[in-house]
Subunit: 459 residues, 2 copies
């Protein structure tokens, strides 16, 4: 049987003989097997993964979407669930357990062995978004007095149940972290060398309560395969692996971008499709309504200068451009500053240096845009109605000056707000771009009408 | 000597004796050593890293910022440069070589050994942003007929020069990829088992010309430590490691976000600080100017309805709120769709499903905002000037209907544009949020004045 056919029609898999199925399993990554069979029914998926060996079964299952995992588990008896969960990686197992209906949790727990029960209890004790909540307990440890040969033998023993055997952590009697040694170092060392002679001592670690984003950044910065996590007593309680770090970074980036665009809610796998209409509505309306209210402030400013607008309709014509341009330049500088803060390229202490740079960039933009606006008004602005005796030159100067000032203030506000948020230990991305747009609309209209009033006067 | 003192004042390091320096080096990650000494002068840095063994020296040097690497190299003679570069990881070495001034390139090249020269030549032949440009050549390979014991021995031999010995690639005679085997599998297998009996065959790989983002996503999806890269002849030519995948993802995240906010340019390390004022200006002005021009279209619409505005100044008052709200709701749906497309949660084929969902969310937002606007106009709108005989009820209805329609069209446009870009194989993030804001300003003003004209009429 051709495998391509199976990819196209996974239902065929349910009918193949054992040898063909093992061939299919053997030559594929568990994530691919999982993807291929994910279109089948819960019963069919279970029947298929039952025929894989227990480690592969747990791996394929762990790669299924969490919702699908829950529905499959719902069709099984608690003994089968317990046996399946026993072979899952501890972090995935805990994630699944936390999502199960309470009745199922209660029936599964007694069916699990003592060790897994306690593991679930300790891994699920940590707050979402912390190192403790993303760590796994399937790590390898060594005693300092072992020889290299003994250490390699020990890693062989734990390998089937450890996610990461390429790093081994050397623990003291109270499970405190003495050092770590890589498998590379172990196989390169003399077989009789002691672990504590060859281990690295300055181990980079996280604490259980550390933010998951910090954890991912450390793994990235130091090119690690895993980062050890210690508790308040300085005892090793888990590790976060490089693949989890990538998932954390993706999730955090999405949340940052959504927050920056004024969208609430945490981001999980396949969130867009899975979130219902009400969920989307709840994530979006708060900013939209708040900013619509704030937008009315712009309205009041327009109303206050109604008289001026009635005389110089050309001012109304340039209003949208002024508002858009302020929003755009402000959002650009805010985006750059938010991102540079997130990447730790800058800190809130660099405020003067950043403002200096933004001011220079803004002045260049202001001159360019001011010149364009001046040309537009002066050469093509003659059609609009205005009282006798007002020169187009004066109006063109006023509009381009206002636009230039608007560009400079918006750019500086865009850079200052996220720096201020960072200074107050808030996430800089709370300075959502829509909010910024609305704020610089208000400052922009005030600048615009004030300059217009001063330079053109009106009656 | 206390190490904390050295962190605070790295200049002290230049004076410590050999034992203290080796102690400092031994207990620290090369990235930390690199960070500590990076504030010193080029000569001091070179003097310090000269005193580390040649592997550590190359590692510390590789962790320095690329600009700093170039200035240090500029102070050395070509033999020292060649010796330093020989020990650097091949991908970092090639990156540095490409940035060197041409004269230095020409003097360093002959000083390098044949193998490194060819390595630089082949690694630097690939276009930026492809798998070929980010891969490294420091990978481990095995012949299929080796026994496990021989394979482990072979990995021991290559370990000092290989970035990744935990994955070994099994090659045929033309260097074609037959399979791969992890060190974990090797140490768990019988010592007499042949590599081709225990290797995985369905190897996940990339081609040299593949986009670097695809490479990073594969590494993430399949939880890999490294991804093999093959050329047009299907021969293995390099690997991309997990740590490079994280760096690629960070870079791509930043570029996506900047593109989405209408900022051009590729993003490299510490780009915000390093990019000069002119560079920032060049990255930002094109969108800002283009959108300012487009914003004038809004101006023409306002001008066309000058008469209506002159009679009903209340319309001008609600104009900013209408424009802001359209921009905000459109940007929200665009952000969600762009991000869901980037994460492959949805494809452009899901267009109907997405529009259906966005329509429902938009209707909820429209009803909410319409009701707020109606209340605002009807209960507090009495102060504005308007001709005799026009009921506030009619004006309130018109404004809230226009706002509701604006919310619905903006949300749908915000979702449709990135889907359309994806359909045309463009990056969905080209539908920059500022552009969207300006576009929905135009559609919004047309909706607003058309409805106002129809429902209130005017003279």
């Amino acid at each position: 049987m051709k495998y391509a056919k199976l990819h196209a029609n996974p239902k065929l898999l349910t009918a193949v003989d054992s040898a063909a199925l093992q061939g299919f399993y053997g030559s594929r990554h568990p994530a691919i097997i999982s993807e291929v069979i994910s279109t089948l029914s819960e019963e069919e998926i279970w029947a298929l993964i039952q025929r894989a060996d227990k480690h592969l079964r747990a791996e394929i299952f762990s790669h299924l979407d969490e919702d699908q995992q829950i529905s499959i588990v719902g069709t099984l008896n608690s003994r089968d669930v317990a046996s399946l969960m026993t072979d899952m990686p501890p972090d995935k197992r805990t994630d699944l357990f936390k999502e199960l209906p309470e009745a199922l949790q209660e029936s599964v727990l007694p069916a699990l062995a003592q060790a897994e029960r306690e593991d679930i209890r300790s891994l699920s004790a940590h707050e979402e978004g912390t190192a403790g909540a993303v760590m796994t307990s399937a790590y390898a440890t060594l005693s300092p007095e072992l020889t290299t040969a003994q250490a390699i033998e020990r890693l062989r023993e734990v390998a089937p149940d450890s996610e990461m055997i390429y790093y081994a952590y050397v623990l003291g009697e109270q499970r405190q972290l003495l050092g770590f040694v890589s498998l590379k170092k172990l196989i390169l060392a003399q077989r009789s060398a002691r672990v504590d002679e060859i281990m690295h001592t300055g181990v980079i670690f996280a604490r259980v309560e550390d933010d998951q984003e910090e954890v991912a950044r450390k793994i990235q910065k130091y090119d690690l395969l895993a980062l050890p996590v210690i508790n308040a007593q300085n005892a090793l309680v888990g590790i976060v692996t490089h693949d989890d770090a990538m998932d954390i970074m993706t999730q955090e980036h999405t949340e940052d971008m959504e927050k920056f665009m004024g969208i609430g809610g945490a981001h999980e796998d396949a969130a867009y499709i899975k979130t219902g209409v009400w969920g989307h509505f709840r994530n979006r309306y708060p900013w939209v309504v708040a900013l619509a209210m704030l937008g009315l402030v712009s309205g009041f400013i327009v109303q206050r200068f109604e008289g001026l607008l009635l005389q110089f309709a050309i001012l109304a014509m340039f209003m949208p451009m002024l508002a858009d341009t302020g929003g755009n330049t402000g959002s650009q500088s805010a985006t750059l500053v938010v991102r540079a803060l997130a990447l730790k390229e800058i800190t809130s202490k660099d405020v003067l240096r950043i403002l200096g740079k933004e001011l220079q960039v803004a002045l260049l933009l202001a001159v360019l845009l001011g010149a364009i606006a001046f040309g537009r008004v002066f050469f093509f602005g003659g059609g609009s109605s205005m009282p006798e005796g007002f020169s187009l030159l004066r109006i063109a100067s006023a509009i381009s000056l206002a636009l230039g000032l608007q560009v400079v203030t918006s750019t500086l506000i865009g850079a200052l707000l996220p720096l201020g948020a960072a200074k107050m230990k808030l996430d800089p991305a709370v300075v959502a771009s829509p909010a910024l747009t609305t704020i610089v609309d208000i400052t922009g209209l005030m600048i615009y009408f004030t300059i217009a009033k001063l330079m053109i006067g009106g009656l």
